[in-house]
Amino acid sequence: GCGGSGSGSKGQEGTAAAVSGESAESAAGQMEAASDAKAGGTLKIGVNTECVHTMLSFDLTGAGVDYYYSWPVYESLFKPNAEGTVDPWLLEDYSYDPEALTYTFHVRKGVTFSDGTVLDAEAVKWNLDHYLEVGAKVEALLSSIESVEVVDEYTVQLNLNKWSSILPYAFSRECGYMFSPDFFEKNGEEYCKEHPCGTGPFELTSWDYDVSKTFTKRDDYWGGDVKLDSVEYIIYKDALVSSAALQSGEIDAILALNAESADALKAYGYDIKTCSVKSHSYLLCFNSLNKTGDDPTGDLKVRQAICHAIDTDALVQAVWGDYGDVRNQFGVGTHYYSEDVKGYDYDPEKAKELLAEAGYPDGFEISLKTEETSALKNAATIIQSYLAEVGIKVNLSILSGADANTAEAGWGEGMWLHGSSVYVSVPMQMASMFRQNLTGHVLGINNLLRPDDVEAALATSVMAADEDEAVKTVGEANRLLTDEYCIVYNLAEVATLFAVNDYVKDSGIGEVFYSVADLGNAWLDK
């Protein structure tokens, strides 16, 4: 459960509008370009787990795998693009007014749900209202929404109680998935949990728990002819078996590979796709608040020493190979990147000095907990080994499933190696983690320092009137978090890995962002 989180930021009117227009055209252009596409066939996709929850969009928890399963059925109001911003998707376009605290959405015409009903303003309002009532992420993302209003048949207006620029980003994920209200009212919630009814190119026709799901194409898809007859998701618990299955042609693509399998497949000549927007970030979190007063990580010098002691380059190379990027702040590779953040270079001598200064010339013992995935486990083992070199003895706990969850929620000492899925918006992500007075199971809620200047910087970035200010304040927040307070240490940003066979064309898998693909256009060249 390393769901991402987010909260307010500010989008700029001009940019958003421009982007939206462009993308609507390019979507149409793409469809025409694929004229030599062959129709028919079944795309078989290997995944490693069953849906974490049900397939009812309101219930989705934000686990990566839930998004993969949503590809064929759900579309959201906005869609991430390669630049790291979002375009309208089920909307024709939208506008907003920070002064009046409103967003106006113009719903795309001609979109139907798989039960044949039409997506109109009423449907959007119903969905948003419903989400505001039951959705898991209401607090974190949508708390600024006061009410949703139908203006006309295809226009919806959101009234806010305070300004938030992140709403388009929020609606680019499960919060923005549209579910057929008629279908829901008619069949009830219980039924809908296993029978999604979205606007996507396919509809779920069979669900064999823990084995496979089959999605069959819709003839009335708003985006044009769907080439594939169907898409089948097959679950492989064992990574080796799924690689073997790809090689033998039993499946056409594997989603969310681990780095080891990716390496092996690469060696056999398979193309490993990584999205242009990275999807996971890995953070080493310190118990910087040090409530009990006996955790050495309460000392800034200790935290800095630890950061200096780790050779991040080598670590990232060893754990993720070419699929991971070293990073020292949030938003590397976007326009939020700040030169001012120095980060920590690998310098064990300095680490030792700092430790000595902090009063630990002989090091100390500390715990490091993380979740049971091969990447986190390897990374933690490597950290342990580096810290041993400066005299810090790390006791590792690798926790699985519920243990990890509970441990993270109740994390109270030492360090935590955190893997988090990324939201497209950098300010949204940072604000969701480091602002004061957060509730719920937000990262290190009881353990991380939440200094006032960080709070101020993040608040400003969310309220910022223009992009420059946002960039500046995000940069400042990053500097404070990393250099000044060393609350967390950014290790790496990693793409989700996809292995897709050559003959799978235009699938969009692994192209832009892990939560979206373009299965309506996909076709098989065999």
Partner: protein, 317 residues
């Protein structure tokens, strides 16, 4: 006989009840909160409380147990999965047959192969055939199951294209397909049983083969074939049956690994993820149903005893 069976069933029922209680208590002792897992990191405290209430997780433990167990025995309702709200009953109904359809042939073939190997090495005792078989048997006693499984997949499946890599089709859906897909999982499952039974059969055969009554049979000029299969094997099998009974509970133990490797939607897979995800009702339900199967199988074994050993049959009346 009826009295005996009745008594046995009553004991079994009490046993199952006690098992259910033990499992329930064990699950309570597990650290971790299902609500957190179900709702994700970002869930608010209230949401979690609501969730817990809706599943009755905040009731006193004994009340929870009472609700659970009465639901099962009165309505055959095992509750709902905490994670995805599916009926555990449906789950079990879907999956138990799958596990059995892999585990049972595994057990049967394992037993047959084990007995045959045991006979061969007993009859050829001291020769290189015996030594070779003993070595192989010991090898499989020591080889981690998942390694054996995956080596088969890679060598037989990926490289030689003899078996499919994974997957499962129920025999009642398409028998040919089932045979094709279940072959290797069944073999892997059977190997361990084979090894244990071969050891047991060999030593029992050796014990029996020197008995006076075998010598009598030989002295009366009966053929070697008859001596081994009629005058030795039946006697040697009696202690082996106990082992078979004990192996029943391991059908599922094997399933935990095998189902993981071969993507077989069985009860073992469900159990492991259930334990890891703290899906109380899934785990409790699965363990209970498995225990029921085990207890039932042992009942069956007891009766099977009677068919092989007339001394027991007589006393059952």
């Amino acid at each position: 006989m009826i009295k005996y069976v009745g008594k046995k069933i009553a004991t079994a029922a009490v046993l199952i009840l006690l098992v259910s209680f033990l499992v329930f208590i064990l699950m309570q002792r597990l650290p971790g909160d299902p609500a957190t897992i179900a709702l994700g990191d970002a869930a608010s405290a209230e949401a979690i409380q609501d969730y817990r209430n809706s599943y009755g997780l905040n009731d006193p433990v004994l009340v929870q147990y009472w609700n659970w167990i009465t639901n099962i025995f009165l309505r055959w309702n095992f509750g709902k999965s905490i994670l995805n709200a599916r009926d555990v009953t449906t789950y079990i109904n879907e999956r138990l047959p799958n596990t059995i359809s892999i585990g049972l042939p595994g057990l049967v073939f394992g037993v047959l192969a084990g007995i045959i190997v045991g006979i061969i090495s007993a009859v050829k005792r001291g020769t290189w055939i015996d030594q070779g078989l003993t070595l192989i048997v010991n090898f499989f006693l020591g080889a981690p199951r998942f390694l054996v499984a995956i080596f088969g997949v890679i060598i037989l499946g990926l490289q030689m294209h003899l078996i499919p890599l994974q997957g499962y089709t129920a025999p009642w859906v398409d028998f040919g397909e089932y045979v094709h897909k279940a072959f290797w999982p069944v073999v892997v499952n059977a190997i361990y049983t084979t090894a244990i039974l071969a050891r047991q059969t060999r030593s029992n055969m050796l014990e029996v083969i020197n008995q006076d009554y075998v010598r009598t049979a030989r002295a009366n000029g009966l053929s070697e074939h008859k001596i081994i299969f009629k005058y030795t094997l039946k006697n040697a099998l009696i202690p082996v049956i106990t082992i078979i009974g004990l192996q029943m509970r391991n059908i599922v133990a094997g399933a935990v690994i095998i189902e993981n490797v071969f993507n077989i939607p069985g009860i073992g897979q469900m159990l492991v993820s259930g334990i890891q995800q703290r899906d109380y009702f899934i785990v409790q339900g699965c363990v209970l149903i498995i225990s029921m199967v085990t207890v039932f199988c042992n009942l069956f074994v007891d009766i099977a005893y009677g068919f092989i050993d007339p001394r027991v049959r007589k006393s059952m009346g």
